[in-house]
């Protein structure tokens, strides 16, 4: 009988923060490991490594994912954005700026993941209210701030019309409005 297809080492091509990156990786290499150890991009943090804390959140084709639980191979041919790639022309992204304005970080460990989760959330729901923001960031833990200033920072961006007013898209993606349907009060 023939051997099944598949390789233990493979070539992965990603567009990371706008630039094309080709590399050989082990099949089991996570996207997080590849970004940090392969490409030297250390903004995405290695927190729990069990899909619980969100510190490793990056955007994959524009949507938040926990990069400790995505294989680099799964991201082959796709676009990845890390916190290093959010600023444009040396100006912080509006969500980054709002985090600074609202003092939404202390130690900063959760911040890169939190900011990217917020960018993804606001693209899906530019008009998110407090409930949507709280539910939309439930995959991201913060040990320091108690969350209040993070919520304020994200709501301030929503009040100004979303993370990048050019990007609209799936406004119905309201995992969260539905969250209110199923939650017990």
């Amino acid at each position: 009988m023939s051997e099944p297809p598949g390789r233990t080492r493979l070539t992965v091509t990603l567009t990371v923060n706008g630039s094309r990156q080709v590399a050989d990786v082990e099949a089991g290499t996570t996207l997080l490991g590849h970004l940090r150890d392969g490409l030297g991009l250390t903004a995405a943090n290695h927190g729990c490594d069990t899909t619980s804390c969100g510190a490793c959140t990056v955007l994959l084709d524009g949507r938040s994912v926990k990069s400790c639980t995505v294989l680099a191979a799964q991201a082959d041919g796709r676009e990845v954005v890390t916190a290093e790639g959010l600023a444009a022309d040396d100006r912080p992204h509006p969500v980054q700026e709002s985090f600074r304005e609202h003092h939404a970080l202390q130690c900063g460990y959760c911040t890169p993941g939190m900011v990217l989760a917020a960018v993804s959330l606001l693209r899906e729901q530019p008009d998110a209210g407090e409930r949507e923001v709280r539910c939309g960031l439930r995959g991201n833990l913060c040990r320091c701030t108690g969350y209040h200033n993070i919520i304020r920072a994200v709501l301030a961006v929503a009040a100004r019309g979303g993370p990048d007013s050019a990007v609209k898209g799936d406004r119905d993606a309201d995992g969260l409005r539905a969250g209110s349907e199923h939650r017990l009060s």
Binding site: M1, S2, P4, P5, G6, R7, T8, L10, E26, A27, G28, T30, D49, T50, T51, S52, G54, T57, L60, R63, S64, V65, K66, T69, V70, L71, A73, Q74, D76, A117, S120, L121, E124, G136, R138, G139, N140, L141, D170, D172, A173, D174, G175, L176, R177, A178, G179, E181, H182, R183, L184
Partner: protein, 280 residues
């Protein structure tokens, strides 16, 4: 994690690879359960066959009397689907209740049902909504009721070499009244217990977190069919179940949750508290 990886570009390719090497190839859909399990050493794989980007497995389609959903359709796509919002709002709500946005952006309906966790949101929805699953493999296509698909936690009737390709959910022209009640801790979103009640000629009530698989609350359904009210029917919600004592809750607490959540769900879909002919 030591394994080989291969990405299938088409359904035909995925089925051929699986059929030729049954038992040696493990499908990888969103990876949101499989990768943590591999990482923690709870499971092993020789070759991961990535079906996450097979175009024929990603769709939500109106087929008149039912909605068909491709197995690799992401939870997020279901939560954002206008078609589901209009025709199957209960299924949409169950998808939207899963985990967090990051998990919903990767995880798929096929992966969730195949993983057969008795606390899964889409599993309890598939059971309450009387879904069918379509399997394809060396023996050809077969269409089975979702009820009976899961045999135990983590175990289904999917045969070696077979792939879950589609989920079919009956969709009446006007959606039936429904209520989904999920009780969970805030940060870790798996249900402790959840109930989905769907009104109809026979009202269906399904529970998660009450045994090795999602289950129907059979005694409650029978009581409702007799005309009993929400209170009396819901008091039977845990009858015949075997809820586990585990890290999330004790079995006794789960029984309590099942009864309370079921009463609230039944009242929400319009079942009177005291029922026909019973003095209030």
């Amino acid at each position: 994690m030591s394994f080989a990886y291969h990405r299938a570009e088409s359904l035909a390719e995925a089925l051929a690879v699986l059929a030729e090497h049954p038992g040696r190839v493990t499908p990888l859909a969103g990876g949101q359960s499989l990768l943590p399990d591999l990482r923690a050493g709870r499971t092993r794989a020789e070759v991961l066959l990535d079906i996450g980007r097979v175009p024929e497995l990603s769709f939500v389609e109106d087929r008149g009397d039912h909605i068909a959903i491709g197995a690799a359709t992401r939870h997020h796509e279901l939560a954002a689907s206008g078609l589901l919002a209009a025709r199957l709002p209960a299924l949409r709500a169950a998808a939207a209740a899963i985990g967090d946005p990051q998990v919903r952006h990767m995880g798929t309906i096929g992966g969730s049902l195949a993983y057969a966790d008795p606390a899964a949101d889409l599993a309890v929805a598939a059971l309450a909504l009387d879904a069918r699953v379509v399997l394809d493999g060396p023996g050809g296509r077969r269409v089975l009721p979702f009820e009976g698909f899961a045999r135990a936690r983590g175990s289904t009737v999917i045969a070696p070499g077979e792939l879950l390709v589609e989920v079919r959910v009956p969709a009446p022209a006007v959606p039936a009244a429904w209520s989904y009640r999920k009780f969970s801790r805030d940060a870790l979103e798996w249900a402790v217990v959840a109930v989905l009640a769907v009104a109809g000629e026979t009202t269906r009530v399904a529970l998660s977190g009450m045994g090795p698989t999602v289950v129907r609350a059979g005694e409650t359904e029978a009581a409702l069919a007799r005309g009993d009210g929400a209170e009396a029917s819901a008091a039977l919600a845990d009858a015949g179940t075997a809820p586990p004592d585990d890290v999330r809750a004790s079995g006794g607490y789960r029984r309590h949750l099942a009864r309370v959540l079921t009463r609230r769900a039944l009242e929400e879909i319009g079942v009177e508290t005291a029922g026909r002919g019973v003095a209030p």
